[in-house]
């Protein structure tokens, strides 16, 4: 049987293609719904937050899933990026048009966050596991305190006056860029080196992999994208206050990564979108909303790790069902021919 292009691809490229397809079809579906007036105001208000959370989850997954280190300071990187990018955008409010301002602000925010990622990365190189988690957690809290005590960040009352440039298209472009960089990195020589560090750092070092260099790279790259997400956040809400970026925010991002599966980029994308939509879609439940949201998270976590459920999911996967149907159809056809 002649294989088609899709089947000829490397397995990882095929997987990545599906991830891109999911994103693009979501984008297309939203655009079509928008054009045909089927998009509610409520849902469209969630589009940019979905993009923000997807970028955050995917970039944190790089540290947790690929490098295998637990970082609890992702909200800290996000806040640094957000403040840097928004201050830049405010400065150039009158000078640059929105189409130029937002990408530049994202670049500035991302670079500054990456710099902080590097700064944290250096002491963090000596730590592992729980200790690393504690240091990153502390880092996030320190940043928050510093931001509150500075004047040019607006202090406790928050930074106001950032131009509201973020659109779904811009957010979507940022998501695709993030996916492109991280998926390609994971599939490259560097990605394999990073994963080898996760599996066994000593063995990896013995074959000449520069552990410190790669850890620094992952930390700053992950921070870079967190910074971009921060700028997107700052450009979609008219007030940026430091209290948003507390450790609860870091935990929320961690939940997305764990729920989607560590090391699975597609999982992070879907989980991030789901976790953004879920609490909002339950507004009709009024007082029970947060209770049921928590319950739903617990159920999802249990099902996600339950072997039996995985078997069931495997048995019900679209591809399997399709091939089953095809087999069944062929069998029938052959039976008819024979008979």
């Amino acid at each position: 049987m002649k294989k088609n292009l899709f089947q000829n691809m490397k397995k990882t490229s095929r997987k990545n293609l599906v991830t891109y397809l999911i994103c693009f079809s979501f984008f297309a579906a939203v655009r079509i719904m928008g054009a045909t007036d089927n998009l509610t105001r409520h849902f469209s208000s969630l589009l940019v937050p979905i993009c923000i959370n997807v970028i955050l989850a995917v970039s944190l997954n790089l540290v947790i899933g690929f490098l295998g280190e637990l970082s609890l300071g992702h909200a800290g990187f996000m806040s640094v990026g957000a403040y840097a990018g928004c201050l830049f955008a405010i400065k150039f409010k009158e000078i640059l048009p929105a189409a130029v301002r937002l990408p530049l602000a994202m670049l500035v925010g991302g670079m500054v966050a990456a710099l902080f990622g590097l700064l944290v990365g250096i002491p963090v190189l000596r730590l592992k596991g729980d200790y690393l988690a504690i240091v990153t957690l502390a880092f996030g809290e320190i940043l928050r305190s510093v931001i509150i005590n500075l004047n040019f960040t607006g202090g406790a009352s928050g930074l106001k006056g950032t131009p509201q440039d973020a659109t779904f298209t811009a957010g979507f472009a940022a998501v695709i860029l993030t996916l492109f960089v991280i998926l390609n990195l994971a599939d490259s020589k560097h990605g394999r080196a990073i994963m080898s560090l996760r599996e066994n750092a000593i063995a990896a070092s013995s074959v000449g992999i520069n552990a410190n260099g790669y850890k620094l790279m992952v930390f700053s790259l992950s921070a870079f994208f967190a910074g971009i997400a921060g700028v997107l956040y700052g450009s979609s809400v008219s007030i940026l206050s430091a209290s948003t970026f507390d450790y609860n925010k870091s935990i929320e991002i961690l939940v997305m990564v764990v729920l989607g599966g560590m090391g699975s980029i597609r999982g992070s994308v879907i989980a991030a979108a789901l976790i953004t939509i879920l609490p909002e879609s339950m507004r009709a439940l009024a007082d029970y909303r947060m209770l049921i949201y928590a319950l739903a998270l617990i159920v999802m976590m249990i099902l996600g790790t339950s072997e039996k459920f995985m078997l069931l999911r495997h048995a019900l996967s679209p591809r399997r069902l399709l091939s089953k149907a095809v087999k069944h159809f062929r069998y029938k056809k052959e039976g008819q021919n024979n008979g």
Binding site: T40, H42, S145, I148, R283, D287, Y288
Partner: protein, 387 residues
Amino acid sequence: MKKFLSVFMAGVMACGMLTACSGNSDSQTEGKVLYIGGSGPLTGDYATYGTSVKQGAELAMEEINAAGGVNGYTVYVKVEDDQADPLQAVSAYASLMDDGMNVSLGGTTSGACIAVSEEAYKDGLLMLTPSGSQKECTQYDNGFRVCFQDPDQGKYAAKFIKDNNVGSKVAILYEKSNDYSVGIYENFAATAEEVGLEVVTTQAFTDQSNQDFSVQLQAVKNSGADLLFMPFYAQQAAYVLTQADSMGLDVVFFGVDGMDGILEKIGRENQHLTEGVMLLTPFAASSTEENVVSFVNRYKSKYNAVPDQFAADAYDAVYAIVEAFKTAGVETDDETFNEKMIAAMTQITVEGVTGTMQWTAEGEPNKEASAVVIKDGAYVTYQDYTA
């Protein structure tokens, strides 16, 4: 596996039924409806504020509808949860807009309210926030508020202390990580300098060190101050009063409206500590004004709690919107509805439980700030106390 699945399915169905139930209770009354929507933290760290706003606003709705509505309309109030998060507040606003909201109550907390004000401005909707006290909450023409703006409270407090000679050497303790506290502090300090009030020391704390105040209070004691200005919330104020007592700090404690609720926070056994504590607030639940008494009684019988500042502000906000609706005399589906409502806001006078109010075009209420003093576990007005 089967058992697990069945439990899971039962859970899903239970959720579905809950949705159905709450759907029923939310169903709007037949006929013409004036839909007032708002958001506040009903869950999370600041849940008390949002819950108060929701209850105050819903009480006003019931009263107005029981009295036959307004202009042939029934009033419908819905307060959504935003957990004091700007992003969620915007989503809540969007969901209310889908629902057909006519007038917005904005957000309960300042940050959320600023985010909502941006959206309401784009829609041209009238927004009257009960408690968004930061300056930017009413930055646009369509934004109004019931509470005092943070800076104004600081100004009033400094003037009050100077005019009534409550203290001459003032110490300040404020929460550096809280926008409300910082806003009041800055303006208090500026006005104090203006009117010639001597500030002997300024101490600060943050939300990470808000239980032990011994260092700051010792500094206040050493400075020889005779009045301590405390622009923060009741919980921390309760700690401060207890610790000040144990170190023998003898000053006049002067708070602002956030300190409302101090009597409940400090508890009955420590009530003697609050003796002589002063606070500047437009609303006192123990006031003897006729409308306040009836509001407090109805609130108590419905929710089994004493209404605080937030509940009173929300109650007044709904009445103000209804008053504006009456004055504007416009149908909700009229093209000029928003315009006329916003114009009417500056024409109306509302005799609310937080005072008699008129609004400036900037969205600020003109109302009296009165100081109350705690005497034997109850608020009395400053005039009564000194007389």
